[in-house]
Symmetry: C2
Subunit: 237 residues, 2 copies
């Protein structure tokens, strides 16, 4: 068993194309003996990549209908640390129930475990294991497999980012300390005069920082700049 996984990991690390990665995902699904395996990554620029075993039809409908906006798995994984068991998510609202029914009809099973992963500049990915066993069996499976899933998910993420060239492409517009300070004050809800006072500089000076930060972040206005800085993890609030 452990041998088999090691071998799969080896072949995973040797993948040279995104297509090959897709094939590895299928092999891994078979190894874990589950219904579906999903890797889905969104980078800072909004580009997406997925390697998964759902039907093409469902994927198309999902994208087309912007289901990521209501999918509790995505919402939950996005706002949590570590593994998310689908059981712990809120499936009660009407639109979510409709979504779940539609996904079930498309072959998505009921038991799921999703691991969120994050990179610099807002890169975000999830790795999901999906199956249809009983609660008791699922619980045993989850306990037993979390370590393996963590390992596999990390390797898939690393490989996908490598193949996407995302690792090299980390120019990371860096803001100067004062620019960060200024955006942070604004992000905390202070207006310009209060921010300037708190930083001990004139409001005019503050504006220079905001302007240069706005320029670096290619933002249209202050709110845009703050939103980007927060999303990119450049400032913490």
């Amino acid at each position: 068993m452990a041998r088999k996984l090691d071998h799969l990991i080896d072949t995973l690390q040797q993948a040279e194309t995104l297509e090959a990665l897709q094939a590895r995902i299928i092999a891994l699904r078979d190894f874990f003996e589950v219904e579906h395996l999903v890797y889905h990554s969104v980078n800072a620029a909004g580009g997406q990549y997925a390697a998964l075993t759902y039907s093409d039809d469902w994927v198309q409908r999902y994208i087309h209908s912007n289901y990521d906006r209501i999918d509790p798995v995505v919402q939950g994984a996005y706002s949590r640390f570590g593994f998310v068991d689908w059981k712990t998510l809120d499936w009660t609202s009407k639109s979510v129930r409709a979504f779940r029914e539609e996904s079930a009809a498309a072959g998505v099973a009921t038991q799921g475990l999703t691991l969120p992963m994050r990179g610099p500049t807002g890169q975000f990915a999830i790795f999901t294991v999906n199956t249809c066993t009983s609660d008791a069996e699922w619980s045993r499976f989850a306990d037993r497999s979390k370590q393996d899933i963590l390992l596999v998910a990390s390797l898939v993420n690393e490989k996908a980012l490598e193949l996407e060239g995302a690792i090299e492409a980390a120019p990371m517009q860096s803001l100067s300390p004062r620019e960060k300070d200024s955006l942070t004050m604004l992000a905390l809800g202070l207006n310009r005069s209060a921010s300037a006072e708190k930083l001990g500089i004139s409001e005019h000076t503050l504006r220079v920082y905001i302007e240069s930060a706005r320029f670096k972040l290619a933002a249209n206005n202050t709110t845009h700049a703050v939103a980007r800085a927060v999303a990119l993890g450049l400032i913490l609030i």
Copy 2:
């Protein structure tokens, strides 16, 4: 060997206090047979927690001098995916060389492997293994131990966040769809009139959404509301 690690992981998961976590870090350092092990976490509120084996003196000096601003390990880990070998970092600049000399004097070894980990709302943590072996030996160690380090780092991070209460602290106000839409448009850099046009509603109506979102988020102004919504993961940009 594997047995020993499993046992350490068990005791790690049973830790009930941050002090106990510190003790586990020391035990793990001994297990890995390295000089130092460092876990350092910064949460969204700017609060910090560390469990590490560096000398108190060095930690104090590090904090007091804001060395995180020049430490290439922190900077490198912050802007990369996955493991960072200290060899691959840039140690050439003047201030960095001075920093490295000072750290070496404080007992920090030369070989290092650092794993960045990220959570929602900008939470960021690093887990570092530090030792002083030869390049060849270090390379073997790194290859052999990466999987274990990944596992341990994830568990330490999870435990630290649990003990800090960061996981519970997800009160997560819910915004109505239109409120989210409105904030999203603003976060994307559109002004009110453009946002309203894009959403197909009047600017007045848009304002109502922004106001109610602002109220729900306890935000002082629009920028604050957008920053909070992004940081809380309520809107994706």
